[in-house]
């Protein structure tokens, strides 16, 4: 059997590759970055919601399975530049910085994932201009390294605000969808901050709290056990206060029906998820239909969320829409099974 190609080495791709190997299929795992693990590794995610397990433990276990398996051929810093449908799968061209080669593969799993929204595009929030406005993926890194300080002066912040739905649910930036994770991750971060530094006050500005399913528990705990405060209103803009030493979150407290301009030492933006550059590229190469959001569209989102509808092309993880790691891992398994069945027949 020709190998089955898995594109993307994030949680979904890792899960698909290790599952394929377990089924006994030769597997070719291609990743455009120089490392495996995807966004969680790239941004040094700290604890994962809702179980508050270190990301390293979760991703580490996936990596171990893949790296310890001789049936999985791993190609890093490699991109796909061409794909042609043949009689038994695809003929693909793989390119590194200095070389390219052609390979025949029996089936393809697209696990090309997402990119975090670039918060500079929401310019009212001052990200990129005010050092203490940080993106929540950067806060993950700070929490991971146990270094919760303001980038501007290296001091511990006294009061932090989280702003939800940055670059999500927002027609001004052209992203109407919900990021699914911003709420639970922000709440998790606030809990993590209060666990480590109970003296830091945490406020979350929200429009709706979407901690769906069993995640609701973390939301309740965050209020009941960690004293996190929730203010209903979307922040309109962030400006400087107190001679530039603090930040002003200007918004409307819609429950008070009053403007609020409260100073914070640090403001964390829960930036949304967008289809990654890689996802957009493979959509074109294979001709997978994309939705208005740019994510790949499965042929039947309900009955078969991992089938693209194209021969031998299967989908997994955040390439088809915002997704949490457990869902990405599950889809990786599903796509592996479908790709295996296709290649075998």
């Amino acid at each position: 059997m020709n190998p089955i190609l898995v594109l993307g080495g994030g949680p979904a791709g890792l899960s698909a590759a290790s599952e394929l190997a377990a089924l006994g299929a030769p597997t070719l795992l291609v990743e455009r970055e120089s490392y495996l693990g995807g966004n969680p590794v790239r941004w040094h995610y700290s604890l994962l919601a809702p179980d508050l397990r270190p990301a390293e433990e979760v991703i580490g276990a996936l990596l171990e399975r893949v790296e310890g398996d001789a049936r999985i051929e791993r190609r890093l810093s490699t991109t796909l530049t061409k794909a042609e449908l043949g009689s038994h799968g695809y003929r693909v061209t793989l390119a590194t910085a200095d070389a390219s080669e052609t390979r025949d593969v029996a089936a393809v799993v697209l696990a090309t994932g997402f990119d975090h929204f670039d918060s500079r595009r929401k310019f009212e929030y001052g990200y990129g201009r005010f050092p203490d406005v940080v993106d929540f993926k950067e806060l993950e890194g700070m929490l991971h390294d146990n270094k919760l300080v303001r980038p501007s002066d290296g001091q511990r912040p006294h009061r932090i605000a989280w702003v939800l739905c940055v670059g999500s649910r927002d027609l001004q930036v052209g992203n109407p969808w919900c990021c699914r994770l911003g709420c639970v991750v922000s709440i998790k971060q606030a809990v993590e901050v209060r666990q480590k530094h109970p003296e830091v006050d945490a406020y979350i500005y929200y429009m709706d709290i979407r901690t769906y399913g069993l995640w609701e528990d973390l939301y309740w705990k965050s209020m009941q056990e960690y004293g996190i405060k929730f203010i209903r209103g979307r922040i309109g803009a962030v400006t400087l206060a107190e001679g530039g030493s603090r930040l002003l979150a200007t918004g409307e407290d819609t429950i008070l029906s009053r403007p609020t301009e409260v100073p914070f030492d640090m403001i964390v933006l829960a930036s949304g998820m967008e289809a990654s550059a890689g996802t957009k590229q493979v959509a074109e190469l294979f001709g997978v239909p994309v939705g208005p959001e740019g994510f790949l569209t499965p042929r039947l989102t309900d009955l078969n969320p991992v089938d693209s509808g194209l021969p031998g092309v299967f989908l997994a993880g955040a390439a088809t829409g915002p997704k949490a790691i457990p869902d990405a891992v599950t889809e990786g398994m599903g796509a592996a099974l479908r790709a295996y069945q296709y290649a075998r027949d």
Binding site: Q172, R232, G233, A237, G251, T254, P259
Partner: protein, 243 residues
């Protein structure tokens, strides 16, 4: 509902009992109007949505981004001017409460910051004006000084085809029923002239051939108003009047 102490509730909620012109309601046995919302009516939202400028009203999800940046609400401190709240009242159809803002709603200066920021693509400024139009057309709003100024302004413009500040001021004074002393007027006029904010000379301004234009314009305005008035449902009987 009997209340405990009159001074604890806002004046407009106290039900006065008068006998031969004398308020005999005491401090401890007064009645007050209920605060309970007893009726909602979707017709306001429907009407607003049906207007070309109001159709985005149904997109609003009450996040408050518009109010957060609204200069009237924040910088100017006009607490009762809250575009998000106006939209909410119109959406749920709480007409009685909305009507309290019938004149405030026109204070919008059309800076469009709200439109620039609204994440849902609500044309807030247009929607607010459409709600204002609804309230105006369906009647019942007490006229405020701002309304009277608007009326003077329109009269002035329609009458002459060009704005004449001195005449505008006179009309407004008449509507307000007040008279500024001549010395004060002179001082004000000179200050404005010097700073270039008054363009009236000794002769009244007037556009040439305006009378013909005016007839056409007036006919059109009357027709427009009649048509729009006819499209507005009748205002409700205010609820909560009975103790």
């Amino acid at each position: 509902m009997p209340i405990v102490e009159k001074s604890l509730v806002s004046v407009d909620r106290v039900e006065h009992l008068e006998v031969e012109g004398i308020d005999v309601s005491g401090d401890w046995n007064t009645f007050l109007r209920s605060r309970v919302v007893t009726d909602l009516d979707v017709k306001i939202a429907d009407w607003v949505k049906g207007q070309p400028q109001g159709e985005t009203i149904s997109r609003c999800w009450q996040c408050g981004t518009c109010t957060a940046g609204c200069c009237l609400h924040t910088d100017y401190g006009l607490e009762e001017f809250n575009p998000r709240y106006f939209i909410y009242l119109a959406q749920i159809g709480y007409e009685e409460e909305l009507r309290r803002y019938a004149s405030t709603i026109w204070r919008c200066v059309s800076c469009n910051k709200c439109v620039e920021r609204c994440p849902k693509g609500v044309k807030v400024e247009e929607v607010i004006h459409t709600i204002g139009t609804y309230l105006e057309l369906s009647g019942g709003a007490a006229e405020s000084p701002a309304d009277r100024f608007d009326r003077a302004y329109t009269e002035n413009l329609l009458g002459r085809g060009i704005l004449d500040e001195a005449a505008l001021f006179r009309t407004y004074e008449r509507l307000e029923g007040r008279r500024t002393p001549a010395r004060e007027l002179l001082r004000l006029g000179l200050t404005l002239l010097k700073s270039g904010r008054l363009h009236t000379g000794p002769f009244a301004h007037r556009t040439r051939g305006w009378n013909r234009m005016r007839k056409v314009l007036e006919a059109k305005l009357t027709e427009d108003r009649a048509r729009r008035r006819a499209s507005v449902p009748a205002p409700p009987v205010p609820s909560g009047r009975k103790p």
